[in-house]
């Protein structure tokens, strides 16, 4: 009987059947299985009877596989979408194209090169332990060259790299030739907040008088006057900045910075995300999106950490020296000889000066008096009486241009800058590097007559302890209860009913009295 036969199978037979089933399994890659392949090899050996068959069995196996018939292609083809690396490489391939013809290239050599020798600067920074990899620096150089071709500019410089949570920014600092580079779109975006109340036509006054009595009282709040941003090429907007996330991706111009944006950027601490249109959520609310915040941080970093060896830059010699006005321009000193490494690496840092103007607490480099503008404008007489004149604010002052770093404030006993030497083995060739402790990531180097600044970091200022954002404002207080205004509870339904009943009773009495009077008549 069949049932008994299955039960009679010994464990050895089961093991044999399992082994044979395993050997008969087809390979997913080539479609052949071990059992058939081994039997083919044994058949071949028995047919041909080669010498030393066991030594050539590997070749036999390979031969058999090669001559076996296999299906050429699957009907379903796998298409892999191109990875992000391939897309970026395609964008960067354009950078590497040589577009100038040999004749043009010769003409270019006569003109002064606009793009500085980024590779040389990067080498010096690398010796002080700062920078990006060499290949990336070269790509950045190509991207800067492309930028200088697209727009008419006077100078361009690699400012640095800012890291973000989803993407990075490579920043180029540009100064346009005179008269060029004004972006009208940028100018139109400025909103002028008018702090004045709107003027009224005299013809409508009468109607307005009547309406005035019925309208709810208008708010007496006047927002503080908007401080205008500095003109292009002045103060905080002296240079124009272009950013891109990777070399090869087209450069985007950053809008000019306003004092409000710098003041707000000082009060908040945010990571960059890598998208220029990302919102900046903070308290107090930041006027703008990430492109404005990025521009404000770039300006703060430049003002705090762009330094040069003393005497590299000099003020122009003016015949009339006005001591009140701060000098805001300088020229390269053609007779600069370079300084010894001891002077540059001196911990007191008297060998270095700032060459970017200090930003006042107001957010500008040149102080702006917000009161003077209001007095000049024409006002109605009644409004002038009602307005309270604010006190004249004190002008803010900052250290003048080209002050040495020894004047920088120390933060909790920590020096504002650290110095390093590139090598301790050869003091005549050593490069002096200084690194900011206030803005970690800001570096500068100097050797002989060369120097340069760069920023590689997250765009955050050093802050001991935790950052505490400003708490939201307190709610407005209610009007104090007093003589003019008292607040009483609304009458309950019972009280209303009682009042109504009392009134009806009084009316009825009146009617009865009148009737009596009539009757009397």
């Amino acid at each position: 009987r069949p049932g008994n036969r299955v039960n009679m199978a010994t464990s050895e037979e089961l093991a044999f059947q399992n082994a044979k089933a395993y050997l008969l399994k087809n390979s997913t890659i080539s479609g052949i299985n071990m059992y058939d392949h081994l039997s083919q090899i044994i058949n071949r050996v028995l047919d041909e009877r080669p010498d030393n068959a066991v030594d050539v069995v590997g070749d036999l196996s390979r031969d058999l596989k090669r001559t076996a018939f296999t299906k050429e292609s699957e009907t379903i083809q796998e298409t892999e979408s191109p990875s992000g690396a391939v897309a970026l490489a395609q964008a960067q391939a354009k950078l590497f194209e040589v577009t100038t013809e040999p004749e043009e290239a010769e003409a270019d050599e006569d003109l002064q090169p606009i793009v500085p020798n980024v590779a040389e600067t990067a080498f010096y920074f690398e010796q002080t332990g700062v920078g990006l990899s060499r290949e990336e620096t070269f790509r950045i150089f190509l991207a800067l060259k492309q930028l200088s071709k697209d727009q008419p500019m006077e100078t361009v410089r690699f400012w640095g790299k800012l890291f973000g949570t989803l993407g990075n920014y490579i920043v180029a600092e540009v100064e346009f030739k005179d008269g060029e580079g004004e972006d009208e779109q940028m100018e139109g975006e400025e909103g002028d907040a008018d702090p004045e109340l709107p003027q009224r036509d005299t013809s409508e006054d009468q109607e307005d008088e009547e309406e005035k009595a019925d309208e709810p009282p208008k708010s007496q709040y006047k927002p503080p006057p908007v401080i205008p941003r500095e003109e292009s090429r002045m103060g905080t907007n002296k240079k124009i900045y272009f950013v891109t996330t990777e070399p090869g991706i087209p450069w985007v111009r950053l809008p000019p910075v306003t004092p409000a944006q710098i003041a707000m950027a000082r009060k908040t601490k945010k990571f960059l995300t890598g998208r220029l249109d990302a919102p900046i959520v903070s308290n107090p609310p930041f006027p703008g999106n990430e492109s404005n915040y990025l521009r404000a941080q770039i300006q703060r970093i430049s003002a705090a950490t762009h330094v040069s060896p003393i005497n590299y830059y000099q003020f122009e010699e003016d015949e009339e020296e006005e001591e009140e006005e701060a000098r805001d321009s300088f020229v390269v000193n053609t007779e600069y000889e370079g300084m010894s490494y001891k002077e540059l690496a001196d911990p007191s840092l008297s060998g270095w000066v700032h060459h970017v103007q200090y930003i006042l607490p107001q957010g500008r480099c040149v102080w702006y008096n917000p009161v003077q503008k209001a007095e000049e404008e024409f006002e109605d007489e009644e409004e002038e009486e009602e307005r309270e004149e604010p006190d004249e604010p004190e002008p803010e002052k900052g250290p003048p241009l080209l002050t040495p770093l020894s004047e920088d404030t120390q933060l909790e006993g920590q020096p504002p800058w650290s110095t390093t030497l590139s090598t301790s083995f050869a003091t005549s060739y050593t490069i002096v590097g200084i690194h900011s402790n206030q803005w970690p990531g800001a570096h500068a180097f100097a050797i002989d007559r060369k120097f340069e600044n760069v920023y590689v970091g997250w765009g955050l200022k050093y802050q001991p302890g935790c950052f505490q954002p400003a708490l939201p404002n307190q709610g407005e207080k209610e009007h104090p209860v007093g003589e003019d205004i008292t607040e009483t509870d609304d009458p309950t339904p019972e009280e209303e009913a009682a009042l109504r009943a009392a009134q009806e009773g009084a009316d009825q009495e009146e009617e009865e009295e009148e009737e009596e009077e009539e009757d009397d008549d």
């Binding site: 990875s83 690398e126 010796q127 002080t128 332990g129 700062v130 920078g131 990006l132 990899s133 060499r134 290949e135 990336e136 790299k161 890291f163 989803l166 990075n168 909790e412 920590q414 020096p415 650290s418 590139s422 090598t423 083995f425 690194h435 402790n437 990531g441 590689v456 970091g457 050093y462 001991p464 302890g465």
Partner: protein
């Protein structure tokens, strides 16, 4: 980063601003090999560097048989002479982590902080001043950083039946799809969260590969 291919692997970090000067790389190639030989390590890895105000600390880890737990930290200020970092007990570690501010760059520097007074009714009572040596603070900070952010891709390390963690010789790397998924990365530290998983989750794990915490379970969760 393994000391053997240090100068090659460092190139990959260049775009994040992490580079070493030529002198430092040359010194490290030399001194790390000598360190490995002297201390009889199976391999030596450069953990990284911590920048102080007056100097820098380079940290290297010497690894024995077990790649996870058999690690000894050494530090150097000039990439040539290496000293072993001290071992700390829990209370010393807690004290060392309370110091704020940057490292000074000098291993013998002693930082101070004031312990807030405990259970004192006097509102003007000032706490005790606690002194912490910079070397101890360095150990505590290096361990804290490793605990929080040392990651390894899934499959790079395997645990053999003797519970020894080894490098997986057949690890071919992650595919592009796997590499952009946080699930494929583990914290490289003794597992803390594994026991809290449900039995169903644990049944799906491969005991040889999935013996570490996944970084996707970290709090705060990634938003975007």
């Amino acid at each position: 980063m393994d000391a053997d291919g240090l100068h090659l692997s460092l190139d990959y970090l260049g775009s994040s601003g992490v580079i070493l000067s030529t002198e430092q790389k040359a010194s490290l190639q030399n001194s790390l090999l000598l360190l490995k030989n002297r201390e009889k390590f199976a391999s030596v890895e450069l953990w990284g560097k911590i920048t102080g105000i007056q100097g820098e600390y380079f940290i290297a880890q010497g690894i024995g048989n077990d790649k996870l737990s058999d690690r000894k930290c050494h530090y150097s200020t000039d990439c040539r002479k290496w000293a072993q970092l001290p071992k700390l007990d829990d209370s010393a570690r807690a004290r060392a982590l309370k110091v704020e501010g940057r490292f000074m760059g000098d291993a013998s520097y002693e930082a101070e902080y004031i312990e807030p007074p405990v259970n004192s009714s006097d509102p003007h009572a000032t706490g005790q001043t606690v002194v912490v040596r910079e070397e101890d603070r360095l150990t505590a900070v290096v361990d804290a950083i490793s605990h929080d952010v040392a990651v390894a891709p899934r499959g790079a390390y395997i645990k053999n039946p003797q519970e020894v963690v080894l490098r997986n010789r057949s690890f071919r790397g992650l595919s592009i799809a796997e590499a952009s998924n946080l699930n494929s990365y583990f914290h490289f530290r003794p597992a803390e969260e594994l026991d809290k998983k449900s039995l169903i989750q644990k049944a799906n794990l491969d005991k040889a590969i999935d013996f570490l915490d996944c970084i996707e379970d970290d709090i705060p969760h990634v938003i975007s």
